[in-house]
């Protein structure tokens, strides 16, 4: 195909093959390259005569029905947080927490047979968490249980679980709690006589404490409980084997006595749990109980109640969202659930920043799958805006577009498919990534449905 012909034409030498070859191998690719460098403008010019075929609209006047729901029970075992004390007010009623645990088997290997017992105390390091008023005097009692802590068949223990304890406490403490103090501060309850008995048994390798089985049967368990109705706070402590301890102090008689200590640690299993007893009398929630698990907002002064371990959740339902179907062609681009706490309800109780949504049904059942998640599969959390100065713009905003779109997918919206707003909550079958949903707090939230109302705000496109 190379050029061979040279032709005399009008006195000039030319080769037309060459020009075609040139065109073929240089010009063609050049053109395609040139075409690709055309840039399209990013202008605002022209906007006044373009006709839009889409309209983006907001509607936030959908009716939202609110109610307070009392769930069956919540898992409180294995949280590594102990709660003890009692607090009551006329909004959420009173709540009493008792913390159950047992001790891990130990034979004090290497303990000198000549060790002489001095004293013993249970040590409960503060977790920093508290609920209520920590400025008043608290009193707590430590009892030994008269039955072993046995989890339910699902391996869990609930806020409603309880085990009998002895009539008289092993030790008691009256104190001003200091939950915010340095990390190593703790509630220390002396148990001197009990301690001496146990120390001696273990040192002497008594058969009652020489095997794990015998040890557990002999000691059973313990409960740190609120002594009296005068308590004005619930205090949290770290309930794991590095923190909650029974420590024995002893010495070995020598010329200069040698002082030392040994410890028994908490049995870090699901045997650790908190029982929660609530009393809603004298509150708007007084009718709530095992026989009536739902109160509409108009039965509770236009507010709804959310609290962690007391099983209170707010339920929202959307009765008028069906109205959307009146429009012929639409797509929901964004759906938000917006609500505000009762103004100044956070004077004593800090507003929770983490709230969770669960899809639910008529029976208010929830399970791990009903937790609303974000696009990354993590629990969906609200955007929380806190108006520190005026307290008028404090609000929670949840993006619930996938939920709403999912519910509308079959072009029918089931009113019974509502949402439950809760604090950290456990469910009956906790999966691994839901471990954090086991409740360990009494944080509370009072949601207002007046000025402004709870809103379902929908951004939708019609075309």
């Amino acid at each position: 195909m190379r050029v061979t012909g040279e032709v005399k034409f009008q006195g000039e030498i030319f080769s037309f093959t060459r020009i075609y070859s040139l065109f073929f191998y240089i010009f063609l690719p050049g053109i395609l390259l040139l075409a690709s460098c055309t840039k399209v403008n990013e202008f605002t010019i022209g906007e006044n005569f373009i006709e839009s075929r889409t309209r983006l609209q907001i509607i936030d006047t959908f009716r939202v029905d609110l109610s307070t729901v009392l769930l069956d029970s919540v898992i409180t075992s294995g949280t590594r947080t102990g709660l003890a004390g009692e607090y009551g007010d006329d909004i959420f009623g009173s709540v009493e927490c008792n913390s159950f645990f047992d001790l891990a088997f130990s034979t004090f290997d290497g303990l000198d047979q000549g060790a002489v017992y001095d004293s013993a105390a249970f040590i409960f390091p503060y977790s920093g968490y508290f609920y209520g008023d920590t400025t008043s005097l608290m009193s707590l009692d430590l009892y030994q249980l008269t039955e072993q802590i046995v989890p339910n068949t699902d391996g869990k223990l609930y806020n409603t679980s309880s085990f009998d304890h002895a009539a008289f406490p092993l030790g008691s403490l009256q104190f001003y709690p200091a939950p915010g103090s340095p990390a190593d501060s703790a509630i220390i309850i002396p148990v001197n006589s009990f301690g001496e008995e146990l120390f001696t048994l273990i040192r002497n390798k008594d058969e009652r404490v020489s095997t794990q089985e015998a040890f557990e049967d002999f000691l059973k368990g313990f409960v740190l409980s609120s002594t009296s109705d005068d308590n004005n706070a619930v205090i949290g402590f770290i309930a794991d084997k590095d923190h909650t301890l029974l420590r024995f102090y002893y010495h070995i008689d020598k010329e200069i006595p040698e002082y030392n200590s040994v410890t028994l640690t908490i049995n870090e299993t699901n045997h650790q749990f908190n029982s929660v007893r609530t009393d809603f009398s004298n509150t708007p929630l007084k009718d709530l109980g095992p026989d009536q698990r739902l109160l509409k907002e108009n039965e509770t002064n236009g507010m709804v109640f959310v609290q962690g371990m007391t099983e209170l959740m707010a339920k929202v339902q959307f009765p008028t969202i069906q109205d959307l179907f009146m429009a012929p062609r639409w797509e929901i681009l964004k759906a938000q659930l917006v609500f505000e706490p009762v103004r100044n309800s956070d004077e004593m109780f800090k507003l929770p920043q983490k709230l969770y949504l669960f899809g639910t049904d008529r029976e208010n059942r929830i399970n791990p799958n009903s937790l609303l998640r974000d696009s990354e599969g993590l629990a969906l959390l609200p955007e929380f805006v806190y108006d520190e100065i005026f307290h008028t713009d404090t609000r929670y905003t949840f993006e619930i577009t996938p939920f709403i779109n999912g519910e509308l997918a079959d072009r029918y919206f089931d009113y019974e498919h509502g949402l439950l707003i809760g604090l950290e909550q456990s469910t009956s079958s906790v999966s691994a990534n839901l471990a954090n949903f086991i409740s360990s707090s009494l944080d509370r939230l009072l949601i207002e449905d007046r000025n402004p109302h709870v809103k379902l705000r929908i951004y939708y496109l019609t075309y």
């Binding site: 040279e6 009008q10 399209v40 202008f43 797509e331 929901i332 681009l333």
Partner: protein, 407 residues
């Protein structure tokens, strides 16, 4: 050898056709938002340097697509292969804004040759209309005082693949016809990044149109005079739309027959004089858009007119009359487009100049021209485009039918 070259030229044409189709966007102007978009017109190559004038010119050194009767002017020994490119700088100015952009693309590929002494033919690919715009706006979310950014984009256009023929009825009179298959798609998209949605509307268009031409030529005292007439009948394009709405959660598609995309009745006349290597011409064209309704409240249509004239002067001196002769060209054009936006007529005016440069030793010419012009108005909040377009036309002529003396 000759066959081989022919095959290569055909391959080049065929390879370029789909390429052209894919990159056919040759316009970038918000004025192209309406209907079929910016109408490209049929003046090619050297005519671009003469205000697009050429209804009465024959196709001698270059294929003249304005008038199919012109193909009779193709030299009996020569085939013409032409390829056009352009680069355009546009400045958009409104009363409040001033923006610029550059775009460049390939435009057309045409071939023309004579089959018998009385029959000549031409075929090729050229844009018929094109759409290209990209407009960023903000709009209120209805029911709130929130603004959100919204983007309008348009692209695509209609292309024509044509086959034309001209016959010499009598020595002075030629009649020509072009059959064009018009096809293409027009895409309008509006979208919002913030709320993740888009509405994309694609309209697929096609139909066959015919346009006709007459050319009458006579000589008087070594000067040739010619008169050209062109005509094409109105046509409605077959149109089907496909609208897709996409959100993060959903996607919906609708299809159907689209509304009217009409090509109006079109006619034109041109005159030309030629003496030796000098020539000049003037054109008038009219399209009856007035009855075409765009159902757009802001756009009113009127009949569009185009007026132009141009001259071509050969280089003086030793090269005159030889293969190395350079042609200088000059022209001006005024178009009253069919668009009246907000009661403001959108007009187009341009001057152009250029040259036909022979490649030394070859029967080929590169036609370069520069077009300086203006379109639109600043009134009624509209905008004006000041533009400068470089047209590059490569005309490869070949002696397909001449026997070589030596091999």
């Amino acid at each position: 050898m000759k066959k081989f070259i022919k095959i290569k030229a055909l391959i080049a044409t065929l390879v370029l056709l789909p390429g052209l189709n894919a990159v056919a966007q040759t316009t970038s102007s918000p004025y192209s938002v309406f209907g079929l978009g910016y109408l490209e017109g049929n003046s090619l190559g050297p005519l671009k340097a003469m205000g697009g004038t050429g209804i009465a010119f024959p196709s001698d050194r270059s294929v003249n697509l304005l008038n199919p009767a012109s193909y009779s002017g193709i030299d009996s020994l020569i085939s013409i292969f032409e390829l056009g490119l352009f680069g355009k700088y546009t400045n958009f100015r409104s009363n409040t804004e001033n923006q610029s952009l550059v775009n460049a693309n390939m435009k057309y590929v045409v071939m023309g040759f004579r089959i018998t002494p009385w029959l000549s033919t031409s075929f090729g690919f050229a844009p018929y209309s094109s759409i290209g715009y990209n407009i960023n706006t903000t709009e209120f979310i209805e029911g709130s005082n929130q603004l959100y950014p919204k983007k309008f984009e348009g692209e695509g256009g209609v292309n024509q693949v044509f086959l034309g023929a001209a016959v010499k009825l009598i020595p002075n009179l030629s009649l020509g016809v072009n059959a064009s298959y018009l096809f293409g798609n027009i895409t309008h998209t509006e979208s919002s990044q913030i709320y993740y949605y888009s509405l994309q509307d694609v309209t697929y268009l096609s139909n066959i149109t015919f346009n006709y031409g007459l050319n009458y030529r006579f000589s008087l005292k070594n000067t040739y005079y010619s008169l050209g007439l062109i005509y094409s009948s109105p046509k409605t394009l077959n149109a089907e739309f496909e609208t897709t709405v996409k959100t993060s959660y959903n996607s919906a598609t609708f299809k159907g027959r689209a509304g009217d995309y009409r090509i109006p009745r079109h006619f034109g006349a041109g005159i030309a004089v030629q003496r030796e290597f000098f020539r000049a011409g003037a054109d008038f064209e009219r399209s009856l858009w007035k009855n075409v309704d765009f159902a757009n409240p802001i756009l009113r249509t009127r009949n569009s007119n185009r007026y132009s004239f141009g001259v071509e002067i050969p280089s003086l001196g030793a090269r005159r009359g030889t293969g190395g002769m350079i042609f200088y060209r000059l022209g001006a054009e005024f178009r009253e487009s069919y668009m009246v936006i907000d009661n403001q007529p959108i007009n187009y005016k341009a001057i152009s100049f250029g040259a036909g440069l022979p490649l030394k030793g070859f029967l080929s010419i590169i036609n370069v021209s520069l077009e300086l012009g203006q379109e639109g108005t600043l009134k009624s909040g509209l905008f004006r485009e000041n533009f400068c377009t470089l047209h590059l036309d490569m005309s490869l002529r070949n002696l397909w039918f001449r026997k070589k003396l030596y091999q």
